[in-house]
Assembly symmetry: C2
């Protein structure tokens, strides 16, 4: 059909009427499809049901160090789990703490620690009324929510195909009030972009004015390849050490999308100095994390190869879902010049961009037709997408059939919205 901007008024009217009718048909079906969050689907969770079936005979109660996992003790977690996360995260095992079920909680608590106690011997962030954080956009709404909660004023830095715009980052960190940033360096949320070697190197070299600058390095999708070979991310720890900058980075990971989303393990990995600070806080915060669940995980996953095997099973479930969506996007939108989207090699999202000023409208139309997307705007700090253009697609949870329907609705809404815009129709939908 070609680019919408080349269509005649009559052609656009036809598109407009066609899509309106199509959407009306969807609306009448009273669908309820939720693509809002990056939740694993039930078949993915089934892959880890062994965690439910390990009994005392198989599992025992002792860690490899002979600790009774049912009791108190062992704040830093089981050695075998620390080693496993060390492999996953590319950190020495002794720099890893194996914790509870949520890496988000670990990030929140780490920022809280910087707020009330500072880091690196510098004054608590709380005492700086101008404290700021770099927000890579589009990004993860739950990261932004933590920064907002703690009053870290967010400054947008655009994502590029190679990671955050490093020129912008290097400029911003000259401000001593800029205290850090959240990064999802592999298969970023929502774009699915893996930081290039150059980006990792420039981040490692970064010399911020704030000596207590901290990058929250969220390895949420570090082993979450959809295709093989997956993207390769340079080790931030090894790279930062070259410059003596290892204190700038605190890394987080979890098995939420490896085993059970709500009942997996999370870990934190940090330089010696950051590790000591975190341990000192945790010593006051908790006696020990759930070591029985750590023992269960260690029983099933001895090393990175075991994890990779599991991730291939996930990929086999997820790949067709991503492809179902992409195929329809290509079919309906290629060449129209009204939308762009990413084709990530892994992660949980497709980032979908429509014409500036249209995303909210597209989201509203989809919702009316029974398709719930991530709140439009959520991929920007304060829920405010200045271009009103980005929509996050989370294909993991719906069934293949639902995904096809969802993609059709999204395409129809996008086409309707674009046609209406070009026609100057203000009330495109109802």
């Amino acid at each position: 059909m070609g680019a919408f901007c080349d269509l005649t008024k009559e052609e656009l009217m036809r598109v407009y009427e066609t899509e309106k009718n199509r959407l009306e048909q969807f609306r009448l079906q009273e669908l309820s499809i939720n693509m809002a969050r990056g939740r694993p689907c039930a078949e993915q969770l089934d892959l880890s049901d062994d965690l439910l079936d390990l009994n005392r005979d198989r599992l025992g109660i002792y860690s490899e160090d002979g600790m009774d996992c049912r009791n108190y003790g062992g704040l830093l977690g089981l050695s075998e789990v620390r080693r496993l996360f060390g492999e996953i995260m590319d950190f020495p095992a002794q720099n890893v703490i194996a914790c509870g079920s949520s890496s988000l909680q670990l990030m929140f608590d780490y920022i809280a620690q910087c707020m009330t106690h500072g880091t690196g011997g510098f004054r608590p962030w709380y005492l700086n009324d101008n404290r700021k954080f770099i927000a890579i956009v589009p990004g993860y709404d739950r990261h932004f929510a933590i920064a907002e909660y703690f009053g870290l004023r967010m400054i947008n830095v655009p994502m590029t195909a190679a990671g955050p715009d490093m020129d912008a980052v290097e400029e911003l960190v000259k401000d001593p009030d800029v205290k850090g940033m959240f990064c999802v360096p592999k298969y970023s949320n929502p774009d699915g972009i893996t930081y290039s070697d150059e980006t990792v190197e420039r981040l490692a070299r970064l010399a911020p004015a704030a000596e207590d600058f901290r990058v929250i390095w969220d390895e949420a999708y570090i082993v979450h390849d959809l295709y093989e070979p997956g993207d390769v991310l340079k080790s931030i720890y090894a790279e930062a050490k070259k410059y003596g900058h290892q204190d700038h980075f605190v890394a987080f990971a979890s098995t939420s999308k490896i085993t059970f989303a709500g009942a997996g393990l999370a870990a934190i990995a940090a330089s010696d100095r950051n590790f000591r600070e975190i341990e000192a806080r945790m010593t006051r915060q908790i006696i020990s994390f759930d070591k029985v669940n750590q023992l269960r995980h260690a029983y099933l996953y001895k090393n990175l190869d075991d994890i990779k095997r599991q991730m291939r099973r996930h990929a086999a479930i997820l790949r067709p879902k991503f492809e179902a969506v992409r195929d329809i996007l290509h079919e309906e939108l290629d060449g129209t010049d009204i939308a762009d989207w990413t084709d990530p090699n892994g992660g949980y999202f497709i980032s979908f961009s429509v014409k500036t000023g249209s995303a909210r409208q597209v989201g509203r139309i989809c919702k009316d037709c029974g398709l719930i997307l991530t709140g439009v705007g959520a991929t920007y700090p304060y829920g405010n997408d200045p271009f009103d253009a980005n929509i996050r697609i989370a294909p993991s949870c719906p069934t293949a059939e639902e995904l096809k329907t969802a993609a059709r609705i999204l395409c129809a809404a996008t086409r309707l919205s674009a046609a209406a815009k070009l026609l100057g129709v203000t009330e495109a939908w109802k």
Copy 2:
């Protein structure tokens, strides 16, 4: 034998020599008995091994509300677990949040929330440089460690047989900088005292100058009776509501000493207003707690009766241990007027008091003879027992045989120390 102060110099010399010889015998055995912490013993943990043996067939994966417990979601926890903790804690289920494995973490995080965000609409505690907390002494070292971490200056209030000295509490809360207190209202740590009805009523009626005054109501031993009937604690929620003071109290409990110490469940219970504040914070902090472990617990414990049945099994293991220690304390120290101790109906500790200025010495002698006690002084803020008199005995973990030996060592050390003091011997031991 009678009171030590009535003994002649010769009699005291005989005691001194006898105990020194006895201790020397212990020392030569190279014992290693740890009575430092209130850890359950392995037989107690065995009582909950069903938690390890529940498989998917028995357990299923759905909560009573039909939630897949393996996935994200359900921040407030399973309805059935909220109801269970509501019964345990005497709060309406809708005021309870069922969380992860650690109640200490919930307390720490709640104080952190008051620090950075305040409570009740008042300014963050962090902004008050004179912030203070009432510390009931002797008390729980981990509570004190949290207060110290957040720079809450602790003011000692003595424990009485009926709970904290309420005259002192009522006086102190006239100071608007006094922001709260930690309470272990049933079987207090370490005294094993349950607050009397009058104490609970006076706490409920309390009208602190600080409108953001908060009592951390730690129901650590709320169902942990050693004898039946156990002590009865008045419901703080019901009582506080009479005066519209329910916002002054935030309650915490866990199954750490009901099921697995390191892999149980913890809960927080709070007034509507406090609940909303806590939920608002948690919404940013975590997606959901480990609901699979909640499901396991809900499968085994449907209601308070199930919990009480379990606690009777614990009591059957713990009672002889407490009694072994007490019998020896009575045998060796009755009438000597050199030591006092509590005879609690439940909880995890016996609080043992020696002559002013002697506890550190007794602790040192015990350590030399292979008996590790809770660090002397730890039951006071900043590790500073102004009387150097209190020693916490934790009889749960050692075996009955070890406990008898431990009690003998403690008695011998106490007698040696007292005799030396009366004799004016400065170097009582080595």
